[in-house]
Amino acid sequence: MTRFFPAVLSLLIIGGLVIAYFVISNDDGDGPDFVGDIAGGVEATDLLSPIAFLIPVMAFVIGASSIGADLKSGMVEQILTWEPRRLRFLAARCVAGFIGAALAAIFVSVVYVAGTFVLAAVTGTTSGTTGELWGNIAVAVVRSGAASGLFAIFGIGITVLVNSSVASIVGFVIYFFIIENLFQVFLPKISTFLPVTNTSAFAAGIDVQRIEGSAFDENVELIVSHGYLTAGVILAAYTIGSTIVSGVLFRQRDIA
């Protein structure tokens, strides 16, 4: 990890700034107007929602990698001859994964927010922003960290289940880009209870919405399914569920 740390840090900084640039410079006529300005009336949730989609991907990769290194190198076998209590080993990896993913999410959020303010100040104005906005941003950033940490533990659980970080990350990418979107189109009611949707909603602090009727209608109507706190509870349920299942399996599994 030490060898890759500068590269990972650079990637997080560049990623945060790139998203900040697109948010500030793009005006699609939908949602709050950030074109050149972060003026009074802007909500912290509006500001942070564009990077919320990034949180589950980043968190899953961090979580899967944190235990994947043990699995891939075979070091898990060496470690278990030192600390044979497997649930302790798994708990240690979950704690490490939570902290790593939470810090990464907080870091990228801070870079992003800083980027948007600098770009807004350069290209327009930040007049009218208040201390309350900064307080709300701080809360939202911490919540992003918590969402990221929980989803990293979910990623650890899935990786233990499939016994490979590569398989779990590839599977997650397929799920993230294809399967969950298919649910949103064809089974919208179920889609509101899926992990990525709820993680993003909790991280951004926004309601979970679903399509009413057919996604192929011209005028698609979105209705609120539940709020971000419920999304957080659903995320926690996924985390706890995957941790219990993976813990039971890991305790029984032959390490060979």
Binding site: R3, S73, M75, E77, Q78, W82, E83, R85, D254, I255
Partner: protein, 343 residues
């Protein structure tokens, strides 16, 4: 109260279930007891005989299908954590974080067990890796990786050291060092369990031996007890006129067979009767160019017990097929242990 054996395996059975394939029985009804500190116990078997599976059961890494596995009286399957601080192990191929240096890998393990950093220096020095401790694990040769894994096993200063194929990947000098290391560890009063299929190495380092084959216990005992399965010792004679010597010996009631080497023959007498051989030949007007004893080897015993095929012959040109066959039988039943009794 009698102390529990260091290792106690009773009726161990391990079956691997496979999807859409027949189950694989890795170990079948194995018993093993290792009770004496300060001894080296060899655990022998061909590849796939169940050695590593047994060791993994001992370390709580895999669950036996049935049977009991205890280390220091502790059930390995459920409570190995109680015995773990007293057990150092290297299982199969060395496994460490590839991007970490050798020292960092060991430090990570030392931190986990609250072991002082000075111990890392000590074990690196023992295995001869002090000079390369800062290099990444992935840059190490197989032999260096093997030595680092042994260093990790020694880090706990264990009462029981389990080494699975420790000589893999080592050059001859490394193998010799390994042998000395294992003996020195045993001399410190620790028990060592060494699994291997390199029989010559085991023979030089072990006090007791257990042989398994296809998951079954074949034989267990001291080296001398095991060697008895190889048959009797022999005497090898170097002489100019081999065929005439065979005739002279046969006339005296001593059986002898030609060896592939042009002037060698194997005489079926114990080594302590070599003087009889020299006397018979001298009385027949024949004089030896050399004579040495060939002792029964562990390898021969192992091949006899496991029914494994002997190594292919390396017949010299001009020898008959019968001689080749004799050579094979002889070579698997005995090994050279001494040289140079001039005639």
């Amino acid at each position: 109260m009698t102390a529990a054996p260091i290792v106690e395996i009773r009726d161990l059975r391990k079956v691997y279930s496979r999807m859409r394939k027949d189950d694989v029985v890795a170990v079948e009804r194995l018993d093993l007891t290792l009770g004496t500190p300060g001894t080296v116990h060899g655990f022998l078997g061909p590849n796939g005989s169940g050695k590593t599976t047994t060791i993994r059961c001992l370390l709580g890494l895999i669950r036996p299908t049935s049977g009991a596995v205890r280390v220091f009286g502790v059930d390995s399957t459920t409570s190995f954590h109680l015995a773990a601080p007293r057990v150092g192990a290297m299982v199969e191929n060395p496994k460490m974080f590839p991007n970490f240096s050798g020292r960092r890998n060991l430090s990570l393990l030392a931190d986990m067990a609250g072991i002082a950093k000075s111990e890392v220096d000590r074990v690196l020095s023992i295995v001869g890796l002090s000079e390369r401790d800062g290099d990444s694990f992935e840059s190490y040769s197989l032999g260096m990786k093997q030595r680092l894994a042994i260093a990790a096993a020694l880090l706990k200063n264990p009462e029981l050291l389990i080494l699975d194929e420790p000589a893999n990947g080592l050059d001859p000098a490394g193998i010799a060092e390994m042998r000395i290391l294992i003996r020195s560890i045993a001399e410190e009063g620790k028990a060592v369990l060494v699994s291997s299929h390199q029989l010559a190495e085991i023979e030089q380092v072990c006090d007791d031996v257990t042989i398994i084959h296809q998951g079954n216990l074949i034989e267990s005992g001291t080296l001398d007890q095991i060697r008895r399965h190889a048959g009797a010792d022999n005497v090898v004679v170097e002489i100019e006129n081999r065929d005439a010597a065979i005739t002279v010996l046969a006339a005296a009631g001593v059986q002898a067979r030609p060896r592939p080497a042009e002037r060698e023959l194997v005489v079926d007498v114990d080594a302590d009767r070599s003087s009889d051989v020299t006397r018979i030949l001298a009385e027949g007007g024949m004089y030896l160019q050399g004579l040495y004893a060939e002792r029964a080897t562990l390898e021969a015993a192992f091949l006899n017990l496991t029914g494994a095929a002997p190594p292919p012959p390396t017949a010299p040109p001009g020898d008959s097929a019968q001689n080749d066959a004799d050579y094979i039988a002889d070579d698997t039943a005995s090994g050279q242990t001494g040289t140079g009794v001039a005639s």
